[in-house]
Symmetry: C2
Amino acid sequence: MVNCEWLKVPSALLDAEARAAAEARQGVLTKPPGALGRLESIAIQLAAMQGKEKPSLDQVRIVVFAGDHGIAAEGVSAFPQAVTTEMVRNFANGGAAISVLARVLHAELEVINLGTVVDPGPLPGVSDQTLGAGTANFAKQAAMSEEQLARAMNIGRQSAERAVTQGVDLFIGGEMGIGNTSAATALASMLTDISVESLTGPGTGLDTDGVSHKVKVLQAALNLHRDKIDSPVTALRYFGGFEIAALTGAYIASGQMGVPVLVDGFIASAAALVAIKQCPGTADWLLFSHASAEPGHKHIIDALNAEPLLDMGMRLGEGSGAAVAVPLLRLACALHNEMATFADAGVSSKK
Amino acid sequence: MVNCEWLKVPSALLDAEARAAAEARQGVLTKPPGALGRLESIAIQLAAMQGKEKPSLDQVRIVVFAGDHGIAAEGVSAFPQAVTTEMVRNFANGGAAISVLARVLHAELEVINLGTVVDPGPLPGVSDQTLGAGTANFAKQAAMSEEQLARAMNIGRQSAERAVTQGVDLFIGGEMGIGNTSAATALASMLTDISVESLTGPGTGLDTDGVSHKVKVLQAALNLHRDKIDSPVTALRYFGGFEIAALTGAYIASGQMGVPVLVDGFIASAAALVAIKQCPGTADWLLFSHASAEPGHKHIIDALNAEPLLDMGMRLGEGSGAAVAVPLLRLACALHNEMATFADAGVSSKK
């Protein structure tokens, strides 16, 4: 068991009074009851999370965690490992999808490099918190040492703490790491009853043979380590990555501090799975943004009993799917906060 | 056959060159090919519609058409008919869902009253283009005279022309009219092979008995008029409403002028069905925003071979579902236009 005392802090509780007030408000807005569908339930959930009848999402923080994966040596990715570092540079230069989305959404973007094989050197807007030149190859040994795991989770926790200190209304975690669908798949299979075959997909673009090979590599790795896994965070140490551990830490800490989280796709949902298995109260603080095109995602989503807001066939990571869902949450709040009531507007209610 | 000469003008053609340029651009942006899913195809479709490699959606126009329905006398709605006028006032006062959405999206909102049972009197921001105190009861006679139909369609056409003249990038039509799910259901059943039972739903909130009664009323009305229906616009005259006819006219005219349209839910999709059956080229210019919770919507969507972007369980009308999808389209454009290419960013492509 990894020594992370802070993981024992319980999650914050939702505000039942604010939820009830928000529910009551939805019932008197000038629309047939329920006619705004999930926009109503989102507003009510955010009210319960933020502890106020009228929730707001002005300040959104997006933190992208980057790290390389030793498992890439097994030929499980369609892109070369250098791409992790190249994409960190692209984040710094504002050219990546998440850079564009953060700009348009007026969200603050923080990029944290937890350890790439190729050192990108100092970059504006990228925080260098390197724990090593990528993780070890989990086909052969644990991906991380206990210290690396504890530090990676703590880096995630600190990013959430910074967000809360700075008054952020919503936390989004993103990731970049060539090979990380392999890590997420192994983790998810280890922590659920879902088979590796069901969870394994093309990632950034493997062909059928590539996917078959990936299944074999992951199955062998699970067989190699299974007996040593005595907790969700131990599974994270063996199969995860720096960025997945940071996401897990950020989610758990967000729940402890009571800040709403919007979860991205496949990798982020695997981190959410670890977070919820380790600290079940975290579940109350996570909203799931989108159904990824990565085929294993729906199995993780089902295991979490979650309902993603969007299904746009996205599979990019970086937090991009969560970012794309931000306007829906903002519109849900605006409708909830600004629509007239039947009484205000002098509109007749149902016969 | 209604005399509307302008309906004979063919729809504009999509720009194949702009589409090809946009497709090529998507292929070199710094992401695995296809990883942005539908955001990629949306950007490419908009490029083809706007005739430029980099489409934009800065100026969005929302026009809400309101009108009452004689069929309401048959007890087919959960809300009293006075609500149509009350909601027109609510639009004018900025308290309705679509008012809030238009404000947040910086979209221009135009409200046109085509004829309500209760005269709301002059209202700021509401254009009074009354064609009568609501339509006639189509359980007994045609809903509209030929002149009313022609004028209603022309009002829709003029709203699209104003939008184009003013440089609008996207047209959204909304509607308000107690009883209009009945009109839309009868129309859709008349123009497709879909049964009234499959298409009829609770609208603003009928119970099971109410829905059964609605089915009987609509089936009887279809039987009464079926022999007289010789064209899609004749079906529109018998079963439609002023606001549905205006939407139909606006969609057809938008296609003729080559401006992209984002279609709302059940009522708007019925109008889109009439528009496409009457002028098939209109289909190229319509994007479908959301899957309505009104159960018949999926049948109309299937008949149109359309794929709505969102499924949020909404069933409000007013153009609200389309408005909620606007940020997705804008983000699709921003990603398409602003992301770096592999060459620009020095990122390696697939192995």
